[in-house]
C-alpha cells in the first residue's frame, strides 16, 4: 500500500531494515490458496493424509509461505510490480494446526545491496514459524522510484 513513508532509491541505504511483520495462517487460508493456485496436494488440507505420510500435521504450501514473505517487500515498496526478482529456498515446514489461532509466520527484511544503474535494491528476507527458519536464501530485487 502506498504510504507517506514509501521508500525511494535515493533514501534507502544498505543496512536499512524493513519493518518486520507477523502473518497469521489458518487452515482456511490454505484451502483458499489451494483453490487459487491449483495446488490441491492433500498434505495442505487433510490432517488424515498429512499424518499418514509422516508429517506432524497439515503444512502450508511452500509457495504460500514464499508469497506471504514477499508481502513484506511489496507492502514496503507500495508496488507489487516493482519486484523484478524473487528467490527462496524452502528449508522447513509451516505446520498449521486446526485451531482458530492457526500458525504464524514472522518475516523481517534488510536491504543488502543497491544497483545504481538499474535503480534496484536487494532485500534479504528472514521467515520463521514456530522457531524454525522456513525460508533460506530469500532475496527480492525491487526497483525503486
Amino acid at each position: 500500500m502506498t504510504t507517506a513513508t514509501q521508500p525511494t532509491f535515493d533514501t534507502v541505504a544498505v543496512g536499512d531494515p524493513v519493518s518486520p511483520a507477523t502473518y497469521l495462517v489458518r487452515r482456511a487460508d490454505l484451502v483458499r490458496y489451494a483453490g487459487a493456485s491449483g495446488d490441491f496436494n492433500p498434505i495442505h488440507w487433510s490432517e488424515r493424509f498429512a499424518t499418514s505420510v509422516g508429517l506432524p500435521n497439515v503444512i502450508a504450501h511452500g509457495m504460500f509461505t514464499m508469497a506471504t514473505a514477499g508481502r513484506l517487500v511489496t507492502d514496503w515498496v507500495g508496488d507489487p510490480g516493482a519486484v523484478v526478482e524473487y528467490a527462496v529456498r524452502f528449508t522447513s515446514m509451516v505446520v498449521v494446526p486446526d485451531a482458530d489461532e492457526g500458525a504464524t509466520i514472522e518475516v523481517s527484511g534488510t536491504v543488502v545491496g543497491k544497483d545504481d544503474d538499474a535503480r534496484t535494491v536487494r532485500v534479504e528476507l528472514t521467515a520463521t514459524s514456530a522457531g524454525a527458519k522456513v525460508l533460506g536464501k530469500a532475496v527480492a530485487v525491487v526497483r525503486l522510484p
Binding site: 500500500m1 502473518y23 487460508d29 483458499r32 490458496y33 483453490g35 487459487a36 493456485s37 491449483g38 495446488d39 511452500g62 509457495m63 504460500f64 514464499m66 508469497a67 506471504t68 514477499g70 508481502r71 511489496t74 507492502d75 508496488d79 507489487p80 510490480g81 519486484v83 523484478v84 526478482e85 524473487y86 528467490a87 527462496v88 529456498r89 524452502f90 536464501k137 527480492a140
Partner: protein
C-alpha cells in the same frame, strides 16, 4: 527409480496459451491476503502506469507448475511425483504480468544432480507473450526423494 540425467538440456513443447484474467489476479491476491488495489482496481493500476491490473510476484507459479507437469509426466524423466518436494523457487520478472496477457510457457530441464539418496532437478519455464517477448523466467528446484544414483 532414478531420475534420468539425459533429460538435462531438454526443452518440452509449450503448454496451451494461458489467458490472464482480472478475476484470477484478484483471486490469487486474496488468497495470499495481499490488500494492494493494483490487483483489483484497473484505475488504481493505471495510476501506477500499468495498462490493467497486475499479478502478484508469485502468480506465475500457476503457469510454471502447469508447464513443469510436462516434465514430470514424461515417462522418460523417471520422476516419481509422489516423492517430490519443492526445494527452491526463483522468479525473474522481465515485466509484470497484466490482465489480458496471453502467455506461452515453455519448460526446460537445466540440471539433474544426485544429492545423497535424493535427486535435485532444476527446471526453467520461460514465459513469454505470443510475440515471443519475455515476461517471466521461473526456475524451480524439486527434490525427488530416494531417486539419486545411490538409490
Amino acid at each position: 527409480m532414478a531420475v534420468n540425467p539425459d533429460i538435462v538440456g531438454r526443452e518440452y513443447p509449450p503448454i496451451p496459451v494461458y489467458e490472464v484474467g482480472r478475476e484470477k489476479i484478484r483471486e490469487f491476491a486474496e488468497a495470499i491476503n495481499s490488500p494492494d488495489p493494483v490487483h483489483r482496481d484497473p484505475e488504481a493500476a493505471r495510476a501506477k502506469g500499468y495498462p490493467d491490473v497486475i499479478a502478484s510476484p508469485t502468480f506465475a507459479v500457476i503457469i510454471a507448475q502447469r508447464a513443469d507437469a510436462r516434465i514430470i509426466a514424461d515417462p522418460d524423466s523417471g520422476i516419481d511425483y509422489s516423492r517430490v518436494v519443492h526445494g527452491e523457487q526463483r522468479f525473474v520478472h522481465h515485466r509484470p504480468i497484466v490482465a489480458g496477457d496471453r502467455l506461452v510457457a515453455t519448460p526446460h530441464v537445466d540440471s539433474v544432480d544426485a544429492r545423497g539418496r535424493h535427486a535435485m532437478v532444476t527446471t526453467r519455464v520461460e514465459i513469454a507473450d505470443e510475440n515471443g517477448e519475455p515476461v517471466t523466467t521461473a526456475r524451480s528446484t524439486i527434490v525427488v526423494r530416494d531417486a539419486g544414483e545411490a538409490a
